[in-house]
């Protein structure tokens, strides 16, 4: 059997025998039911309006407010944190600058101390060298004097031995002068010869 044709015959919406068959009541509005519906609907609306909706709305708005507050709060905290961070960065920079400054100053002080020490050492050395040179000069001079005296004495002695006589003071003097004139002492004092 064709099901579509069957449904068409099984649901005779209009033709319909009055009692059991027929479906015209499906589309026939009933006043009584409409009144019941209206009453039920109005009561439902009043109950919901009074007891349900305000609380739900309030809760939702409270939540929305809470969320907005939380967002604001976190925003504020973030800004604060950023501020603190910036401050710390600034301070760090300052500290670094100061450290650099200190190091530079220390270095400068060190350099100065070193230069001073070098200078001092140099001066001292020169002083010592000068003193040593003076000593050497003095010693040389003294040595020369001594050699000269020695030579003179030797000369006198040698001459006495050769001449078998004691030289008087005039002879002696003359001899010495002659001998000394022949000896070049300049080599001893390290100075270039004068003649």
């Amino acid at each position: 059997m064709d099901p579509i044709a069957f449904i068409a015959t099984a649901l005779p919406l209009a033709e319909a025998a009055e009692e059991e068959g027929g479906g015209s009541f499906l589309v026939q509005p009933g006043i009584g039911l409409m009144i019941w519906t209206l009453v039920a609907f109005v009561i439902t609306m009043l109950v919901l309006k009074r007891f349900a909706f305000p609380k739900i709305t309030e809760a939702l708005e409270e939540r929305a407010g809470q969320v907005a507050k939380n967002i604001d709060e976190s925003e504020r905290r973030r800004a604060e944190a950023e501020e603190v961070l910036a401050e710390y960065r600034e301070r760090l920079k300052e500290a670094r600058e100061q450290a650099d400054d200190i190091v530079a100053r220390a270095k400068r002080a060190g350099d100065a101390a070193k230069a001073e020490a070098t200078e001092e050492g140099k001066a001292k050395r020169e002083e010592l060298v000068a003193a040593a040179r003076k000593d050497i000069d003095a010693e040389t001079k003294r040595s020369l004097e001594q050699i000269r005296k020695e030579v003179a004495d030797l000369t006198v002695l040698a001459t006495e031995k050769v001449a078998r006589k004691t030289l008087d003071s005039d002879d002696q003097k003359r001899l010495v002068e002659e001998a000394l004139a022949e000896v070049d002492f300049s080599a001893l004092s390290g100075e270039p010869s004068r003649n």
Partner: protein, 302 residues
Amino acid sequence: MSTKKKLLLVFGGYALLMIAIFLIFGSDGKNEEFQPQNEFKLDPWVDIHLGGIDLSINKAVLYIVLASVITCVSMVMIANRMKAKPNKTQMAVEVIYDVIRKQITNDNLNDKLAAKYFPFLATLFFFILFSNFIGLIPLPTNTEHPVHIFGMEVPSFALYAATANISIPLVLTLVVWVLYQAEGIRHHGFFKYLGTWLPAGLEDMNVFGRAAIFLIEAISQFVRLISLSVRLFANILAGHLLLLFMGGGLAVLLGLGALGVLTFPMAFAFYIFEIVIVAGLQAFIFSILTAIYLGEATSESH
């Protein structure tokens, strides 16, 4: 084995089962006694007649009262248990509530009207939604085919929906219609409001043309009475008829038990379709159209 082969095997086996049942039980011939539409017939349970109006309590009245009570109790319970950290039920209600508040109410109405009509629109939505849901729960309301338990006549379990009766969507539609016309007249004044029915851009047209268009617009206003109510009524009725036929009605009518093998699984599919999509969708459509009509009646141009 490929998926295609598996599917073929399943359907083949299923067809074989159907044929086997047909061979065993055969056909009882067409059943003339069973009238499926009588599932929706309203027999008065308690006769009440007041001043010529039949206020008898019947199945539909029971369903309406049930819908009303369940809507009130569940919404008030949910409202009283609103928590800062919502559970799943509260979350679902909040989502629906948000849809009603934003998409249905605030998108179509200005702030003043939205505040005024939100309770009405939300009640419409929840009332229709709960009506539709209750309509999908089997309740012992079928007095036409009672079951006899220990000699007592007990109504059998059946599906019925208040919204599958034209009276209920119709009266809700009438309320909506009267409300939005009244709101339009209050906002514009009577004649100016009728003037807004004419679409914009007809200023150059002659009088007869404008009159003709006004007539069409006026008819369309009255057609809304039918379209809004019948949309809800017909959707729910069709859904219930489908469930009735698929759930065995067709097999009984035709006396073909074998057909039941084919239709019964489809009843589940339609049931899920009805409860997940149709119930909520029709409630949403009814209330958003109400909001749109209200918004249109009070807007400056048509």
